[in-house]
Subunit: 495 residues, 2 copies
């Protein structure tokens, strides 16, 4: 048995354990086998990568060092006794190998893989192998099995209601913060809409990041339930309530490898919705030259896959394909997006019309799920609730219920404007490029960082006129973003 | 600029750099982007994973800590100034993504991928993605391109001779140390056979590990050339001379994922042979129920691929399929295998007959490349050179030339025998199982660890009679191996 010693080294996201190279009871060849170890404590265990230490001040014989991340995850105090053993590869890897060989897997084999992935038993390399093997071919039945398996690990909400509505966009369009408008409209109407959202991983902001500018989003299930019972809705971060945890692990590998197959997208989104207890879902698929879906043919293929899987898992789905040719609204990044959202809810005269219109369109589709409104009356009802201020009031109640944000965030004070190279008309805005620039400026970690779009597609501009303004909270962030923007602004201005 | 400080932590095989979390000039969000960094010194650079340190005794502001592995690889002294920047993903990853999407890649695209892999610019996850994408489909042209690209990075030998022979086995059969018999036979005949071998990665011993029991195998190119000039041959470890370095990187990911496609095998083997300057190659494909190739159909498919690629890169290849139904010889593990090899070369009466026969068969095929011997006279010539002691004399000269091993290795003193459960006849021996048991005993790192097979297939045994003996140098190793052997001995004894 070894005693835990906390080591002030953070190797996020990896767990790292440290052992003295000498006088530890193991010989060199065992260490080779022990590179990945299982650390077993009395009441908890973790997998960790082993690092060898030659520095006797850092560890004493009989001690095992745990880096910050490993110490936190294991959750045992310093000095607690643990045993270590070689971490054996999970048996479900055999199924991954068969998938690599071109086999189609059975439901229970897929379940075993997803369970092991959710339990952090796979290395990123092994997860990557599974994802790439799936990218080469997946049957519809396999996609369905992955969806179900993902929803089955982790938490599962049951709202004990026949109609629990939800709205989701497949992403890729900066500034597209419609959920923060749709949810208050729908709540004001009286449907149940417990919306959990993610934080941004590679985009400049997720709904949770933007909502957090206004209110607390980090809450446990009990708090979510209490708020939904009173307000019909919530706008919470989904990370705390452990819905489809396998999805978070898969995403951590999909993103760096940029694996974005339709199968994975369908499984990821629908497993979260199933776990969140949604019964009716409006799904927004933006189509555009720099969006995730770039042609109507692809949109139709994706739509059919969504409809098939949703049907099998018992979710009523209404899929809308929308214009994804440029960012939506003006602000990109948490503070700037929150500003736009509140402008729409307040019916400000200068609120971004495209954001308002897009949110009303989606809210209308969600309201159409209400049997009392069927016949396409959802849109009119959404307009009414927005115009009357009822949606704004619902938002204010939600903010109060979740806990109003005490920090006053403002747009980043370090500012740089990108100018039009000549007279002309804005012809196209590259969603990818804008997202990357905003991200380098510091969004979403720096709430005030991002981009303020001053001219959208169709706008006439003069040479030297500002196309957009980069906001950053640090000089370094501004420098990163400016360098990228000066290389290519992401705006095409036709003479 | 930061100053290097050496940190006595070994995170092999990863490079790790350490920075103070506080007062380092970077903010939290930049760190997220900086997880993988490029450390640029005056004359060298490395990629490293960044760990954050909260312990001010370990590092001072303005310092960057480098773990043992990173410090060694960068090769700059402590205190040397370095700059860090975000390590951008290599541009060739775009081709990997296209391969994942099902595209067939062009030669120059494959070259770019292989160059970046050899330069350690890919993470294990990214290498895994490339390999799995290739496993799902590879055209023959792609396999050829990978082979050429792998041979083109790293060193390339030219022996300035029209006939440079080589012999290779695709592996998987424990105890199969024929190279150490074939090379002295061929050298005694007078053909040029500069044999580079690998160390074991997942097997209990590689030819380099076993040869090292007798002689030094770790030499530079100049030493190899000098020995070959005098002795016509050499039995060296290939790791030092940097032949097809991309192969070593790919193998480090193929093994844990157990990706063993024919395409990768052909590219791996033939790229090494091309880089090593071989002109004529005898390739041994063992076929058996627990071998790498398990049916004659597969053997034919593999043979055709080898022949196609070898032909295109200008290597004359002679492929033999052999019996791979059980281990060859008695010893498994460096010391025990070296004992068997020397017994064959000395014509000892109790030398393992199967090892002797297999080596003569392969040596005969290699000698058949000699125009003077054509017409199938190679085998008789090989027998003559072995029986006359000329092969033994050639081996002794090689050992002297390479440097006789000064350490006297002996079989591991910790011993456990595995007994037959009943009277009967040995029906089958599982190559995989025997390899794993020998490996857990400590082979190849502990030279004396391994297995001594006392009864081979066809042998009659009595209940309680020893089937094999496990040797280990440590009690822990013996325990590991014994536990696995007692679960399943790998021997099938038919009543």
């Amino acid at each position: 048995m070894l005693k835990i010693r906390r080591v002030a080294i953070d190797t996020y996201p990896e767990n790292t354990a440290f052992l003295l190279r000498q006088s530890n009871g193991y010989s060199a060849e065992q260490f080779q086998a022990l590179r990945k170890i299982r650390v077993n404590g009395d009441s908890a265990e973790i997998l960790a990568t082993l690092a060898l230490v030659d520095e006797p001040t850092m560890l004493k014989p009989g001690e095992i060092g745990l880096g910050e991340q490993a110490f936190r995850r294991l959750g045992l105090p310093e000095g607690a006794p643990v045993a270590i053993e070689q971490a054996m590869p999970p048996t479900s890897l055999e199924f991954v190998r068969r998938k690599i060989d071109g086999d189609t897997l059975q439901d229970d084999e897929i379940s075993a893989i997803i369970r092991d992935i959710a339990a952090h038993r796979y290395s990123p390399m092994e997860i990557g192998a599974f994802l790439v093997a799936c990218a080469s071919f997946m049957s519809t039945q396999e996609t369905l099995a992955v969806t179900r398996a993902m929803a089955d690990v982790g938490n599962r909400f049951d709202w004990k209601a026949p109609l629990v509505v939800d709205k989701h966009c497949i992403g890729g369009i900066p500034g597209n913060r419609t959920s923060m408008i749709v949810v208050p409209i729908v709540a004001a109407h009286g449907l149940i809409m417990p919306k959990t959202s993610s934080r941004a991983i590679t985009s400049p902001s997720g709904t949770a990041d933007t909502m957090e500018v206004l209110a607390n989003v980090d809450m446990c299930e009990a708090d979510m339930r209490a708020i939904v019972a009173r307000e019909k809705a919530v706008l919470a971060w989904g990370g705390r309530v452990n819905l489809s945890p396998a999805d978070d692990v898969l995403i951590s590998v999909e993103r760096p490898l940029r694996i974005d197959t339709f199968d994975q997208m369908v499984a990821s989104i629908l497993s979260k919705k199933l776990a969140a207890g949604s019964t009716h879902l409006v799904l927004d698929i933006p189509v555009g030259p720099t969006a995730k879906v770039r042609s109507q043919d692809d949109a139709v293929r994706l739509r059919k896959l969504f409809e098939h899987v949703a049907d099998k898992i018992g979710i009523v789905i209404d899929i809308v394909t929308t214009d994804g040719s440029q960012p939506i609204g003006r602000g990109v990044g948490p503070v700037l997006e929150a500003r736009d959202v509140m402008a729409v809810l307040r019916n400000d005269a200068d609120a971004p019309p495209d954001l308002r219109e897009h949110a009303l369109f989606l809210a209308g589709h969600v309201l159409d799920f209400d049997p009392a409104l069927r016949g396409g009356r959802g849109y009119a009802r959404a307009m009414e609730l927005l115009a009357s201020g009822e949606a704004l009031a619902a938002m204010e109640r939600l903010i109060e219920a979740q806990g109003r944000q005490t920090t006053r965030y403002a747009p980043g004070e370090h500012v740089h404007e990108i100018h039009s190279p000549h007279d002309g008309r804005v012809n196209a805005i590259d969603c990818h490029r804008i997202a990357r620039i905003a991200r380098l400026a510091g969004a979403p970690m720096d709430k005030g960082a991002g981009i303020d779009l001053l001219h959208k597609v169709g706008s006439d501009v003069r040479k030297g006129q500002a196309l957009y303004r980069i906001h950053a909270q640090s000089r370094i962030g501004l420098g990163f973003a400016r360098d990228l923007a000066m290389e290519d602004s992401g705006h095409e201005v036709a003479r």
